[in-house]
């Protein structure tokens, strides 16, 4: 095991403190990574993982503390300095130029030049060599726009390697991958450490942390809770360290018969923003008191499906029925009137107006309803009372209804959306990526809230790229691949592997489901 | 903007002289308080306005007057306020140039009947004001006569097209006066020559002036007389480009396109303004309401043949022009208005 090699550290961060105004993001954090190990850095959102890595990578200067790389004290004042020291960072959001080829992206800013011109042949050859030695298979001549997400990530890693990185930091690398792709990635990372490189992995997927890493450091509220070998840890123990209390991991599914159909999609086709087919022949039904989950790798039509159902994108063909009303092509206000509540995937963009107050956000969609409006005038008194009640009920941490959403933490912003959408007594709930970017403690609360709606007889369509979430909550599980529903599975019996194969299109026989 | 620049330096150079003049005259009863003069226009940096400025500057140098220049810009809302500011500002004489100012001027003048407003280049129906009325049709008559004679004489640069051109800014009465004067002048000396006229519709578009005159030159017209402000500058450029001739207006435009300008019809605003201030300062001819016509006879309007063109002009043409000029000045040759 890597831990046995020696007390020979690749990275030592000692007593790091970093403040942003009143907020202390890292409080006297000491973090040491041995050479040749995979070291996982875990913690909830806002625990300070990203800040710590940004300090290490020279994007923030610490207020106090020191950093040693390979035993030598250094001052990392910019990412360039970090790269010069052999550090490399693979960001969660890729920073590739879609119109350039793989090789061009990898050598962007450090092109191999001969006679004043870029030597494409040498670049391609160099990428091939790097690809072979690292085990990251990509075609250097392809244009990045055409690559899958997994390939893009490989390009990002190659880019880091090409710049001579011996210490690689990966921020949430599996968030966009299928389980199979995730396992391939881990195999590659293990290959890196076998070659003497060092890997720092930021994650909040506890299972993969335990599976792949040698050592785990847990951060909570900006401070280190502990650093322990992965071998002796369990998921429950890790979660408790992160959250500060025991966390329930059981499956939430309960029995109970589904009621009448609430939402029916029949042979829906739709196009994406570029006018290309995004949904093909999608049929599905969601019954009262039932959770139907749509699993799939991000970007296979889930976004468009959610938009079509929510009335934000007109289908090019097909029928849609909600509570007996034809809603195909109807605008969002009509669909909402027919019984839709919607928790969108991109909360900060679509779910809230961060500039406005909580009160104003709570009102959205009901500004013309008789509950909050009279003769065209908004009854702000009622809105304020409603907001205050919801703040209490959903435990939103804020100064009050007048506080701007901007002032809330990410988890509390999510609660504002949930509070608004869950409290209106709608019969159909569309939930898109409910726990994306949400930490374990809050995830649990959100899952409980969803199950409560199910028990109340609400029909729920859940779209998630997190397989464990789908399996935990769903009564029926549909898999989406390239705009088609390719499988209907029983979450009680299906294995992760099986779902993963469907997500990759292995069973692409265009099976329409009930 | 070399013109503006030279004007500036002239102004500085003249300050000393003005001071000297003021001191020299300080003994005189009328010179205890320098005459306060204001001038209002939107066109001080161009054409006619430059000429007015020259007269004012000369008067300032010679008589030590206190001079305020107000540039109106193009905001109609401001005009009235600007006149009011001046009317309450204790000025002896206020010169005004520009037809767009007329309404505001009249209103202010009605409210301040004691204030001497002098409107340059036009006659209004207001009893309180003084008007400097350039008899531009007289000058234009001479331009018509000159171009007609040269066409008939087949002088250098003139083909047998028997057409001369006129380019006006806007089709407004003042500009019509120029056209009619030219037509009469041409008819007086050469009945077989016709005047082709065109109006640009704007005074502010040299490009349009250039384009329209190119079209005229393409028709075979040899010379264009322009009365179009900055639009006319385009005519001068086009003349250079086409290797044809143009006639300048208002001020001596000969230097602005050497070799392409035949002559300039001068409205000597400087002479008129200077004379008026002089008459007021020395009491010889105080300003009174009513029209003051300034034509060929008083030297307020004249035609100047550009120096580099003199060799081209046959002697008999020069002689004939001298006769016509004298005829117009004496009133022997009557130039009819278009009214």
């Amino acid at each position: 095991m890597a831990a046995d090699i020696a007390a020979d550290f690749a990275i030592e961060m000692i007593g790091i403190t970093k403040r942003f105004g009143p907020l202390t993001a890292n409080r006297d954090v000491s973090f040491a990574v041995r050479k040749g190990e995979i070291h996982a850095l875990v913690g909830e959102n806002g625990a300070g993982k990203t800040t710590l890595m940004n300090v290490l990578f020279g994007m923030h200067l610490p207020d106090s503390g020191q950093i040693k790389v390979n035993g030598a004290q250094v001052e990392i004042t910019s990412p360039q300095v970090a790269i010069g020291l052999g550090l490399g960072m693979v960001h969660q959001h890729f920073k590739l130029v879609p119109s350039l080829t793989v090789a061009e992206n990898i050598f962007l800013g450090m092109e191999i030049v001969r006679g004043g011109l870029i030597d494409s042949a040498s670049q391609v050859a160099a990428v091939r060599a790097l690809s072979a030695s690292s085990g990251l298979a990509v075609d250097p001549t392809r244009v990045v726009r055409d690559l899958s997400v997994g390939s893009e990530q490989r390009v990002e890693i190659l880019k880091v390697l090409a710049r001579g990185a011996r210490i690689v930091i990966l921020d949430e690398p599996t968030a966009v991958l299928t389980p199979q792709e995730g396992r391939d990635l881990f195999r590659t990372l293990r290959g890196f450490t076998d070659q003497g490189m060092t890997v720092i992995l930021i994650s909040h997927h506890l299972d993969e942390v335990l599976e792949v890493s040698d050592t785990v450091t847990v951060l909570r509220d900006g401070a280190v809770i502990g650093t322990e070998p992965a071998k002796g840890l369990t998921e429950a123990r890790l979660a408790q360290m992160m959250v500060g209390r025991p966390v329930d991991f059981g499956r939430k599914r309960r029995d109970g018969t589904a009621g009448a159909p609430v939402l029916t999609l029949t042979r829906i086709h739709a196009r994406d923003d570029r006018g290309l087919p995004a949904l093909m022949d999608v049929s599905l039904t969601v019954h009262a008191g039932e959770i139907v989950a749509i699993a799939g790798v991000d970007g296979n039509g889930q976004t468009e499906l959610a938009e079509v159902v929510a009335g934000l994108r007109g289908p090019s063909y097909g029928r849609m029925n909600l509570n007996g009303r034809d809603i195909a092509g109807a605008p969002a206000d009509i669909v909402r009137g027919a019984g839709l509540a919607h928790v969108p995937a991109d909360r900060l963009v679509r779910g809230v107006d961060v500039q406005a107050s909580i009160m104003s956000n709570i009102l959205m969609g009901r500004q013309d309803s008789s509950a909050f409006s009279k003769g065209g005038m908004i009854r702000w008194g009622r809105v304020r009372a409603e907001a205050a009640a919801l703040i209490k009920r959903f435990d939103i941490r804020t100064q009050g209804p007048d506080a701007s959403v901007k002032s809330l933490s990410g988890g509390n912003m999510q609660k504002v959306v949930l509070a608004r959408e869950f409290s209106q007594g709608k019969q159909f709930l569309l939930i898109d990526q409910p726990t994306r970017g949400v930490d374990i403690g809050a995830t649990e609360g959100i899952h409980d809230e969803i199950m409560r709606r199910r028990a109340e007889g609400v029909a729920i369509l859940l779209i998630s790229v997190q397989l464990d979430e789908c399996m935990k909550l769903a009564d029926r599980l549909l898999v989406m691949f390239q705009g088609c529903l390719v499988a209907e599975l029983d979450p009680k019996t299906v294995t992760v592997n099986e779902i993963g194969l469907h997500m990759m299109g292995a069973s692409h026989n265009r099976k329409a489901s009930a | 903007m070399t013109r503006l620049h030279s004007l500036r330096s002239a102004r500085t150079a003249l300050t000393g002289a003005a001071l000297a003049a003021a001191l020299a005259f300080s003994g005189g009863a009328w010179a205890k308080e320098p005459l306060r003069v204001a001038a209002v226009s939107g066109y001080f940096s161009q054409g006619f306005g430059v000429s007015i400025m020259q007269g004012l500057e000369k008067a300032k140098a010679d008589f030590g007057i206190d001079l305020t220049i107000v540039d109106t810009g193009n905001r109609a809302l401001d005009y009235e306020e600007q006149f009011n500011n001046l009317a309450t500002g204790d000025y002896d004489l206020i010169f005004v140039m520009g037809w767009e100012l007329v309404d505001a001027l009249q209103k202010t003048s009605d409210a301040n009947p004691e204030q001497h407003f002098i409107f340059i280049d036009g006659v209004l129906e207001s009893p309180n004001m003084t008007y400097i009325d350039f008899v531009e049709e007289e000058g234009s008559f001479l331009v018509g006569a000159l171009t007609g004679l040269l066409t008939d004489a087949g002088a250098e640069g003139f083909t047998d097209s028997k057409q001369v051109g006129f380019l006006g800014g806007r089709d407004i009465p003042v500009i019509r006066n120029f056209l009619v004067g030219m037509q009469e002048g041409v008819a007086f000396v050469a009945p077989d020559v016709t005047v082709v006229d065109v109006f640009a519709g704007t005074f502010d578009d040299p490009a349009k002036g250039s384009e329209l005159s190119m079209a005229l030159y393409d028709k075979g017209i040899d010379v264009i007389y322009q009365a179009a402000g900055p639009t006319g500058e385009g005519v001068l450029q086009a003349a250079t480009a086409a290797g044809r001739l143009a006639v300048g207006v208002d001020i001596d435009q000969c230097p602005s396109a050497p070799g392409a300008i035949l002559a300039s019809m001068l409205k000597r605003a400087d002479v008129a303004v200077y004379a008026m201030i002089k008459g007021e300062v020395d009491g010889s001819n105080p300003v009174v309401p009513g029209a003051v016509s300034v034509g060929i006879a008083s030297g307020g309007v004249e035609i100047k043949v550009c120096d580099d063109m003199l060799p081209r002009i046959p002697a008999e043409v020069m002689t004939r022009m001298e006769e016509i000029r004298a005829g117009v000045a004496s009133g022997e040759i009557a130039v009819a208005l278009n009214k």
């Binding site: 006297d28 909402r336 908004i378 | 500002g89």
Partner: protein, 357 residues
């Protein structure tokens, strides 16, 4: 291990006060910059500012003159503000002002209507013309997401040249400068006092600003519009018909721009003339931007601009400083205010922009 001090309690200054202090500071810096320029052209800044102040506010007539100058800026500012709050940029207020002014004047000198009604019809025609003038950019924005900034700017040129053409070639008063025949007396927008051209337009402008403020704050439709302005995706998600609202907002903005023109022709000039109100549309847009879309702030900014303009007229007569100094000071103010807004935004926790500059 050292003790890490917890976050120090911050001095608490309310956001609005921060904003006000920021604006005032920006204004002071701009005036200081203007002073340097005045000094450079050889005048005493103190004297120039004194004359400026006196010219703007020194007497009842001067205050009235400032209000007269501010009136079109207020109305144009409200026009720009409507669009701004809907997340849209109507840079075409200038053009709407021109066509609105012309249409109102046309009603004034063509139709024969009883007093009162004549004014209403004239202003109505101005609003209609302004709305029509923005209909193309509005539809192109809603349907094809075509940038309204560009299309409305382009429409400005068309408006200025078209009204100029109509004035010179079709409706020119015989023998006059480039202006139309005067409007009938029945179409005069009443003036508020003797001896000044300040007219009912000022009251209309103030009422519009207050109305817009109340509309945005207290009505469902206003809520929909302002939410659309600050986050269109959120608004669409919540059921606001964004495309329809884009058209409605832009048409309203255009109509108010047209109204501004009608007020100027019926209330001040009583005819249409070329250059009857150049730049007021742009001043209005700037006032709206400076006020960050707050209709009441627009009034303040417009009054300030109006006072600057009025003061500059006396400044030109009494001092050697050119009236263009005012343009420089105004530009400095815009620069300083935008800079301080940017600085405050960057200082905030969230980097989100309120308006898409």
């Amino acid at each position: 291990m050292t003790d890490i001090p917890l976050a120090r309690p911050e001095r608490h200054v309310p956001v609005w006060a921060q904003g006000l202090i920021g604006q005032m500071l920006a204004l002071l810096i701009a005036l200081a910059g203007g002073a340097v320029i005045i000094w450079l052209v050889g005048e005493s800044p103190l004297h120039v500012y004194e004359v400026l102040l006196r010219g703007a506010l020194g007497s009842a007539e001067n205050v009235a003159g400032s209000l007269l100058q501010a009136t079109p800026i207020i109305v144009c500012g409200v026009a720009a503000c409507v669009a701004l709050r809907g997340g849209l940029f109507n840079i075409g207020v200038e053009g709407q002002l021109y066509v609105g002014g012309f249409a109102a004047a046309w009603v004034g000198f063509t139709l024969n209507l009883p007093a009162g009604l004549h004014v209403v019809v004239g202003l109505g025609a101005g609003m209609l013309a302004g709305a029509l003038w923005i209909i193309l950019p509005a539809i192109m924005r809603a349907r094809f997401n075509a940038n309204e900034v560009v299309s409305t700017i382009l429409m400005n040129y068309v408006a200025v040249l078209l009204t100029s053409y109509l004035t010179i070639a079709v409706f020119k008063r015989p023998g006059g400068w480039s202006e139309t025949a005067p409007i009938a007396q029945t179409a005069y927008l009443p003036q508020l006092m003797d001896g000044s051209r300040v007219n009912l337009g000022l009251i209309i402008g103030l009422a519009l600003a207050l109305g817009l403020y109340l509309f945005l704050r207290y009505t469902g439709a206003g809520y929909a519009v302002s939410t659309m302005g600050s986050n269109p995706k959120f608004a669409a998600y919540g059921g606001v018909r964004v495309k329809r609202n884009i058209v409605a907002v832009l048409l309203t903005s255009g109509a108010i721009g047209g109204l501004a023109g009608g007020i100027e022709t019926l209330g001040v000039h009583r005819r249409f003339m070329e250059g009857f109100a150049p730049g007021f549309g742009f001043d209005g847009v700037i006032a709206a931007l400076l006020a960050n879309g707050n209709p009441l702030g627009v009034v303040v900014a417009a009054l300030f601009f109006g006072a600057l303009r009025k003061g500059s007229l006396l400044m030109e007569v009494e001092t050697g400083a050119s009236r263009e100094i005012i343009t420089v000071i105004q530009a400095l103010i815009i620069l300083c205010v935008s800079a301080q807004i940017l600085i405050r935004r960057r200082g905030g926790i969230s980097g989100e922009k309120r308006w898409k500059f």
